[in-house]
């Protein structure tokens, strides 16, 4: 199997990260309409892969989120939202490590919107979708402890949404 970086759109996370450049309406349509159909095999029940494979998949998705936050932090250095962005980024790093770690993100540096407000809105959408993906993986997990961990991560990611929206509402541009 080729390395992930050689395959276009190998994970849903990659797609979401790249979709950060898309208008908000497009993002919303994407996450509301096609969330189940677009999920990679292994976390929607159709793949039925062993829980080890699923854990790797979830850890890579967390690594992608870390890379996404790093890209946003780099695009808006010293912004008022830097504290919340750094805190959330570090929580995804802890999620990644708790899920067994990942050698790195699956994709190249994600595209970031040109305004901080747009970036924060898109990140909130991405977190909501990440939480849903973690709940699906939780339901599919063979190991109860893995289900417990994924439930906590799903809750953490859902809780990022109001924090990002508050930061967006305070952002001037």
């Amino acid at each position: 199997m080729p390395a992930p970086s050689e395959l276009p759109g190998i994970t849903r996370r990659t797609g979401l990260a790249l979709a950060l450049a898309a208008p908000i309406g497009l993002l919303a349509a994407c996450s509301d309409g096609a969330s189940d159909a677009a999920e990679p095999a292994g976390s929607d029940g159709s793949g039925d892969g062993p829980s080890g494979e699923q854990a790797v998949d979830q850890a890579v998705q967390e690594a992608d989120l870390v890379a996404l936050y790093d890209a946003v932090l780099a695009a808006f250095p010293g912004s008022d939202a830097a504290d919340v962005l750094t805190a959330v980024r570090d929580q995804h790093a802890r999620h990644r490590d708790a899920l067994g770690g990942a050698t790195g993100p699956s994709a190249a540096t994600p595209t970031v919107p040109t305004t901080l407000r747009a970036a924060l809105t898109a990140l909130a959408d991405t977190e909501r979708e990440a939480s849903r993906a973690r709940i699906r993986a939780c339901v599919d997990a063979a190991d109860p402890e893995k289900a417990r961990l994924l439930s906590l991560i799903a809750a953490s990611e859902a809780s990022h949404v109001p924090a990002l929206r508050a930061a967006r509402d305070e952002a001037t541009a």
Binding site: S151, S156, H160
Partner: protein
């Protein structure tokens, strides 16, 4: 932890949350009051669902206490928000235990409730956590 033990803990945790929302919610006004009332509805619904699942699993549904010690002084709106954030965050771990002990649809129910209450805690002013407690 058995499924019955996990569901019993959810019922007990929801009873504590319902008490906190009733007491602390009365200290809030405007949009915060409306949010507290919506949260109270959610906790009552989850308590009822957990009790039904527990009864279906032949478990004994625990009764609510007359009063609970609140996690913060609720005599001010700030304290009320802080108390509601704490009871919601505490439930996240309880629901994660339930997600581990339950399967399929019941596990989804537990995980969704945990996500709802972690979100609610941040809305009440708590900082997001990597592993909410």
């Amino acid at each position: 932890m058995t499924a019955a033990d996990a569901l019993s803990a959810v019922v007990a945790g929801e009873d504590a949350a319902i008490y906190a929302y009733e007491v602390a919610g009365a200290r809030l006004s405007g949009a915060a009051r409306r949010r507290a009332l919506a949260g109270l509805d959610s906790h009552r619904a989850h308590r009822s669902q957990a009790a039904a699942k527990l009864a279906a699993a032949d478990g004994t549904v625990p009764g609510a206490a007359a009063a609970y010690t609140l996690p913060a002084d609720v005599s001010t709106p700030k304290g009320a928000r802080s108390a509601l954030a704490a009871v919601d965050n505490a439930l996240v771990a309880t629901y994660a235990d339930a997600a581990a002990a339950l399967s399929a649809g019941d596990r989804r129910w537990a995980a969704r409730a945990g996500a709802e209450y972690a979100t609610s805690a941040v809305t009440w002013g708590a900082d997001p956590q990597a592993f909410p407690t």
